[in-house]
């Protein structure tokens, strides 16, 4: 059990490509932190630097109180689970689990006890005699996790461990990782490109893009208070809708105008804007699909639009609409009290109207792309 501290960590590859820029983060003891971002954002590189598989170009990495920049991976007291499992194909599951213990020259009975214990936790007792090739994807993943468990590491590193599994198994393993985490109660660093995994697993989420941290926060914070346009668009599915809007300040209050509607901002948002010293300006307005109220008839402060595509997701509909030629949006509509009559109106080309409350909007500076509401 240990904390992990990254101070101004930077990774520059030999070909001068900068993969990670000035990465600062303190991962607390027993915390579950998820690095998430699109591919090439530097999340895996950062994890591999913590593991010691990549050199750190600049900055300081501490595990516990110890600076480990130049410490070999094996001496960092970490364990890592790889995306492709990296099981040793030529030895049995038992030997795979025992591998690190044998290197440490632990006593035979200790090795056996730990292997059996890990196998029991993961429910792979009956496969101990098999070679990895004879296992399914989910079982292999369990073995890979088991190999990390037996070492009782201070820090668990996971590099997209669920990406190679099919959707159903992924959900199941995700739940198992949550249970495992509760059981092991140690520090976890988890890399994924899947925001659902990030939101469900992490105590805190680190959202990265182009080698920079874009926001660090609890799942709640990054969802409700995105720091910038990228985070707002990245977290949440379907993604947040963005509209050009005009923000007008009148003394202490603010009003917002977009696509023919005008609304007064609520007190909380007005206070934040005042605090950030925002004046009258053009802004990017963000509205999550689930926050839109969809109507079939025109209504006060509703934006008229045309339905393009209607995606049936089961419990809800995703409606792709266009407001003008170059402005589209995605709206979510629960199916639970959707009458047959209304459902029939939801065909391509039919006119719709949607509105939203001022207390759900996000506002971004079009220049810097930073949130105007972020403290």
């Amino acid at each position: 059990m240990a904390s992990v501290t990254l101070e101004h960590v930077k990774k520059i590859y030999d070909n001068k490509v900068v993969a990670v820029q000035d990465f600062n983060l303190e991962i607390k003891d027993k915390e579950f932190v998820v690095f998430v971002g699109p591919s090439g954002c530097g999340k895996s590189t950062t994890l591999r630097m913590i593991a010691g598989l990549e050199d750190i170009s600049e900055g300081i990495l501490k595990i516990g109180d110890r600076v480990v920049n130049d410490v070999e991976p094996k001496d960092r007291d970490i364990a890592m689970v790889f995306q492709n499992y990296a099981l040793y194909p030529h030895i049995t599951v038992y030997e795979n689990l025992a591998f690190s213990l044998r290197i440490r020259k632990e006593k035979q009975e200790d090795v056996h006890r730990k292997v059996v214990q890990a196998a029991e936790i993961l429910g792979i007792m009956e496969y101990l005699g098999r070679k990895p090739k004879a296992l399914s994807g989910g079982q292999r993943q369990r073995v890979a996790i088991g190999r990390a468990i037996v070492r009782e590491p201070a820090v668990f590193l996971m590099d997209e461990p669920l990406s190679n599994l099919d959707a159903k198994l992924r959900n199941q393993m995700r739940a198992e990782i949550i249970l495992l985490r509760r059981r092991l109660d140690t520090t976890f660093v988890y890399v994924t490109h899947d925001q659902t995994e990030a939101m469900t697993l992490g105590d805190r989420i680190v959202i990265m893009k182009d080698g920079f941290i874009r926001q660090v926060g609890t799942p709640h914070e990054v969802f409700d208070k995105p720091k910038n346009l990228f985070v707002a668009g990245f977290i949440g599915s379907p993604q947040m809708n963005f509209f050009d809007a005009q923000l007008t300040r009148q003394g202490d209050s603010y009003s917002l105008a977009t696509h023919g509607i005008q609304m007064e901002l609520d007190a909380e948002r007005a206070a934040l804007l005042r605090e950030n010293q925002v004046d009258t300006m053009k802004v990017i307005l963000g509205v999550r699909p689930e926050h839109a109220v969809i109507r079939f008839e025109d209504h006060e402060n509703a934006i008229p639009c045309t339905l393009n595509v209607n995606e049936m997701m089961g419990s809800e509909l995703h409606l792709h609409v266009s407001i003008t030629d170059d402005q589209t949006a995605i709206l979510r509509m629960p199916t639970i009290d959707l009458t047959e009559e209304k459902r029939r109106k939801l065909t391509a080309g039919s006119p719709l109207y949607f509105s939203f409350a001022s207390k759900v909007v996000q506002l971004f500076d079009p220049e810097t792309e930073d949130s105007l509401l972020f403290k």
Partner: protein, 315 residues
């Protein structure tokens, strides 16, 4: 007309992996097509048979000659192929001390075994390093070796001879001298095994290193067991090179018959002694040389093919 109108036969196969249903067209079952295929096959087999006869003829010739007695029949070249009487006189001669054949055979075996071992270690470690480690000049070294490999080894013959002579590794010292020559540049043959190692996921190394293994431990315990075909291929190559070499062996051991290998010794018989008298014994010597290699190949054939093709996947 009827032919065109018929519905094509289609089998439907569910590809679970890709999650799609594929249509598989069965091969046409038209009679004329089958006949055509048969004719093509027949001609291919005829050609192959002819080629293999041409290829095997010298071996058959060699084996047959080796059974013609040099005492009772004729030890030289004759105008007939099958000996009048099969005898083992030639082989008996080889096993007499005066022939020195056993000595040469032992020399060859020692050289080949040493080379096989040392060369395998060198080739595999160079390949592993070039496949796994990233260091300054890696590309340069690889390209350099490629370019150097274009020059035939004989170019260095004279220089090598004088170098070895300085070290006392010619004539009497020819055996260690030859081992040195064969082994010296062996790391340059990293190509196929590096290609093979490249196909083993790097994350295995990384995982093992996090598990506490040193680089050498990873090499020994993870990479080697996974590379059996390429290890066997490398051993075979390391053994065969010196086993059949004539060029280097002939000048390094020059004039010192105790240091000859089989190829040089046998050729000396033809060259300096009596061609008419020694030809059948030469043939018997040749047969004995071929035996161990043949056996090795029969046993390891499967790995050999895997090694060559496995390494070729990613080069």
């Amino acid at each position: 007309m009827a032919k065109e109108d018929r519905i094509p036969e289609v089998d439907i196969v569910v590809d679970h992996k890709a999650g799609v249903i594929r249509e598989v067209h069965p091969p046409h079952k038209l009679r004329s097509r089958k006949g055509h295929e048969r004719r093509v096959n027949a001609s291919i087999y005829v050609v192959l048979t002819i080629i293999s006869i041409i290829w095997l003829a010298p071996f058959v010739f060699l084996v047959l000659q080796s059974f013609r007695s040099y005492i009772t029949e004729n030890g030289g070249m004759v105008s007939y192929l099958i000996p009048k009487q099969f005898s083992l006189d030639n082989y008996r001669f080889l096993f007499q001390p005066e022939s020195q054949y056993l000595r040469w055979y032992t020399n060859t075996l020692i050289i080949a075994l040493f080379c096989a071992v040392i060369q395998t270690i060198m080739v595999l470690s160079v390949s592993y390093v070039l496949s796994r480690m990233r260091f300054r000049g890696r590309r340069f070294i690889m390209n350099m070796i490629l370019v150097l490999g274009m020059f035939p080894g004989f170019l260095t013959m004279i220089a090598l001879y004088f170098l070895l002579k300085q070290l006392g590794l010619t004539q009497q010292g020819a055996i260690p001298g030859l081992i040195l020559i064969y082994v010296a540049s062996s790391g340059m043959g990293y190509y196929i095994s590096k290609g093979f190692f490249d196909t083993i996921p790097k994350s295995l190394d990384e995982s093992a290193r996090i598990d506490g293994a040193t680089r050498f431990y990873v090499f020994k315990r993870i990479i080697m067991p996974l590379s059996k075909p390429i290890v066997i291929y490398t051993i075979l190559m390391g053994f065969m090179g010196p086993w059949g070499d004539y060029v280097f062996a002939s000048y390094v051991a020059f004039g010192k018959s105790e240091s000859y290998n089989v190829a040089v010794g046998l050729f000396r018989w033809m060259n300096t002694r009596d061609l008419q008298g020694y030809f059948t014994r030469f043939c018997a010597g040749g047969v004995l040389v071929a035996i161990p290699i043949t056996i090795l190949f029969f046993i390891l054939q499967r790995y050999y093919v895997e090694g060559v093709t496995g390494g070729a996947v990613k080069g």
